[in-house]
């Protein structure tokens, strides 16, 4: 009845199956690392002229990849029309996706798309792209004449757009949307209840009990993506501790997180959590935005893409209004600075086969006609001057209003673009602080430790910002 454990047919099959399965968990991971030998790309230049500053070749093709996120992709088709009007013989192959990195990164070292909108949760890490020389500096685009003439492309851009896209002294990323962040509230609800949108944390803490008495949570945020609460924390730090403090933080200066004003800003948020002013539960961006639209929470902090993202579920009579982040105390160094900046960045891969057409396409995106369509379709401002002038939208109007009364500087933080480690750590710690598992003081200690670690790590290329 009993046999020796010789290699009979059944055990052979069993082992073979085991060996086959054995490689599967590692297989995906290992082969994810594999690439192949790249081939050099040639730019066949066409005739350069004022109307064709990059020498786009007739009858060539350009591959454009659009991030289809909160802003949708309808605006990009308008840009394509603008481009094709001037270059009817250049074929534009446009595709849109939410998986930028998943789809584009594997092609970067060999034959990438010509123009990639690097945005969303699945974006390619910018500092790596720059350090690896994988994307093209676009300073010549800035110097090129604007699409409709009258000055250069750089002249048409809103302040902050060029500096936000500049890394190591070169302009790499063309941000096309101009986003204003802040605390959103329902104007209809507030005027019905006679509430004034608070300007400072003090006013917010005074108003909060009244909001709670109506059965509404004073505040809600996206608890799934750490970069959502991080915007709010960094805005408070900037207002309280001033621009130089954030510049020092970005530059990994010693004890930058312990600068005067940083801790008090974070302590306000600690109090928001401790006083249970946040809607219970852990919601992601659309869930939290929907909860806010459903009247479960009074304030939500997010950028100006909000209206477009939630367009299909906004209840009738709901008045989306944007107010500035709350000031921290009377000692604030920059209470009027607004968190705004250029977002949704396009990059041109160094190995793109048709870089000239990619740049020309960007020139079309930044054209007056293109930007006006962008603002009209997305209810967000484009990064060019005057894009929202002819758009009649109440939500966009409050953002415009906010910008008009803004201080001299725009709140901008480079930390997460500079260092992937600090990006992850600051997201994690922001979530922990907002979950009430970290105090403000612990947050500062841990961020400082993480910054010091990056500063000491020789495998990480250091970046600096001056302004």
């Amino acid at each position: 009845m009993s046999v020796n454990p010789d290699l009979n047919r059944r055990t052979l099959l069993r082992r073979a199956a085991a060996a086959g399965l054995l490689v599967t968990p590692a297989a995906g991971l290992l082969s994810a690392c594999a690439g192949s030998t790249p081939s050099p790309s040639n730019d066949n230049a066409g005739e350069k002229s004022n109307d064709n500053p990059f020498g786009v070749q007739e009858n060539s093709a350009v591959k454009v990849v659009i991030f289809n996120g909160g802003l949708g992709d309808a605006w990009a088709k308008e840009d394509q029309a603008v481009f094709s009007a001037k270059h009817p013989n250049v074929t534009v192959n446009m595709s849109s996706t939410q998986k930028i990195k998943t789809e584009e990164q594997p092609k970067m070292a060999t034959t990438p798309s010509d123009l990639i909108m690097n945005s969303g949760a699945d974006l390619m890490d910018l500092s790596t792209l720059v350090n690896e020389g994988a994307i093209e500096p676009l300073d010549d685009l800035l110097a090129a004449p604007a699409w409709e003439g009258g000055g250069t492309v750089a002249d048409t851009l809103l302040p902050g757009t060029v500096s936000d896209g500049t890394f190591q002294g070169k302009f790499f990323v063309v941000y096309v949307a101009f986003t204003v962040w802040g605390n959103w509230y329902n104007g209809a609800l507030f005027s019905k209840e006679g509430w004034e949108p608070p300007k400072s944390f003090e006013e917010f803490f005074a108003l909060a009990p009244k909001i709670k008495a109506k059965g509404i949570a004073p505040y809600v945020y996206d608890a799934v993506h750490g970069y959502y609460p991080r915007w709010a924390l960094m805005a408070s730090i900037w207002k309280s501790a001033g621009k130089q403090a954030v510049v020092d933080i970005d530059n990994l200066k010693e004890n930058a997180w312990r600068a005067e004003g940083v801790l008090p800003a974070l302590e306000q948020w600690e109090k928001v959590v401790k006083d249970k002013l946040v809607l219970p539960g852990r919601l992601d961006h659309t869930q939290s935005q929907q909860a806010w639209l459903d009247g479960k929470a009074a304030f939500i902090q997010v950028g100006t893409w909000l209206k477009n993202e939630m367009a299909s579920t906004i209840p009738p009579g709901f008045e989306m209004k944007l107010s500035d982040y709350w000031t921290v105390s009377a000692a604030d160094k920059a209470p009027k600075d607004v968190f705004a900046g250029a977002g949704e960045g396009f990059v041109v891969p160094s190995k793109a086969p048709n870089k000239a057409a990619a740049k020309e396409f960007l020139r079309a995106v930044l054209s007056k006609a293109g930007s006006a369509k962008f603002a009209e379709l997305t209810k967000s401002l484009a990064s060019t001057k005057g894009s929202g002038d002819n758009v009649d939208d109440p939500a966009l109007a409050t953002a415009n209003e906010l910008m008009k009364n803004a201080g001299q500087d725009l709140v901008s933080v480079k930390l997460w673009d500079f260092y992937a480690d600090l990006d992850k750590e600051s997201q994690n710690l922001s979530q922990e602080l907002m979950a009430g598992r970290l105090t403000a003081a612990q947050f500062v200690d841990k961020m400082q430790a993480a910054a010091d670690k990056v500063a000491k790590d020789s495998s990480i290329t250091k970046q600096t910002r001056n302004a």
Binding site: L29, L30, C33, T128, H225, G281, N428
Partner: protein, 313 residues
């Protein structure tokens, strides 16, 4: 071997072996090659750095954390999945009444088999998205909603599932919640596997045991389990691989893909972060190679331990 047969066989095998070498083995070797460089993943620039990446592995705190989380799954996923699958298989095959026709499963066992097997036909991504709704951390989540309705959970303090790093028995809660999904989705398949094995055990052995006065518990532990030893051991190896992976669930379901604050970090998520977020492909490949070696050693060990004489019937 007769003349010509070797050539005939080689001719047939050449194409599949070639494909396998090119699409499976070659990428493996490439990854091993990249693990010795500082390649960033976006360019064709790379420098040979020798074993530096491997030395770095041992000082990386995140890897250490990921290692213990993987060990947790390595122990619990096979243990709970096999225990549940065995229990279900036993009930479905020999758990019911006995009558003239002999021993049978519980009433409706055919239907249960289909229901329990169902998760197996769903893609892991679908499972993860579905469980996101079940685990949703407010009153609209399936579990939270039901528990709030019957008053077991405070409306202002919902269970936070994937966002809960508080340790339970020394292991972050989020890992236990992930374990539930892994066991739920795996048990059905192994139940069918064990059912098939149980059906091949001759009924007369059971009848003899029952005549000798053995109860249900005795027949299970004295007859069923020993005779299933081979199948269970193979299942254990398979589940070990699943436990070392777990990437889809962690990637889709946890905040910051391994969060909150690294509480659900596993090898695969660390590889993903280093390769695709941090742009250190060389280092990520080193982690992947280390994981592959670890997996192979583990499988070899497992097969060695469970090898012993088998009973044939």
């Amino acid at each position: 071997m007769r003349h010509g047969v070797a050539r005939f066989v080689t001719g047939f095998l050449a194409l599949p072996v070639g494909l396998y070498l090119f699409y499976v083995v070659w990428p493996f070797l490439q990854a091993a090659g990249y693990s010795l460089t500082d390649w960033g993943g976006y360019s064709d620039r790379q420098q040979f750095v020798g074993l530096e990446n491997y030395f770095r592995l041992f000082t990386d705190e995140l890897i250490r954390k990921a290692f213990w989380h993987n060990v947790f799954f390595l122990v619990t996923v096979p243990l709970f999945t096999i225990a549940l699958a065995l229990f279900l298989a036993f009930l479905l095959n020999v758990g019911g009444r006995e009558d003239k026709a002999g021993i049978r499963g519980v009433f409706g066992s055919g239907l249960y088999k289909v229901i329990f097997f169902f998760p197996q036909v769903l893609s892991l991504v679908v499972i993860a998205v579905m469980w996101q709704q079940i685990y949703r951390a407010d009153g609209q989540g399936l579990i939270n909603g039901v528990l709030m309705k019957i008053g077991l959970v405070d409306e202002n303090d919902p269970i936070t599932f994937m966002y809960d790093p508080e340790p339970f028995l020394g292991v972050p809660a989020v890992l236990w919640w992930l374990l539930v999904i892994a066991v739920w989705s795996g048990a059905g398949f192994y139940m069918v596997l064990f059912s098939a094995a149980m059906q091949s055990i001759p009924k007369d052995i059971y009848e003899a045991a029952i005549l000798d006065g053995a109860g249900r518990l005795h027949t299970f532990f004295r007859i069923t389990l020993p005779l299933l030893r081979d199948t269970v051991s193979v299942a254990w190896v398979y589940l070990g691989f699943i436990a070392l992976d777990m990437f889809a669930l962690v990637y889709i379901m946890t905040p910051s893909q391994g969060g909150p604050n690294h509480a659900s970090e596993i090898f695969a998520s660390v590889i993903n972060f280093n390769a695709f977020q941090k742009g250190q492909f060389g280092y990520a490949c080193a982690i992947a190679v280390a994981l592959a070696i670890f997996t192979i050693l583990l499988a070899a060990l497992q097969l060695r331990i469970t090898r012993r004489e088998r009973i044939e019937y």
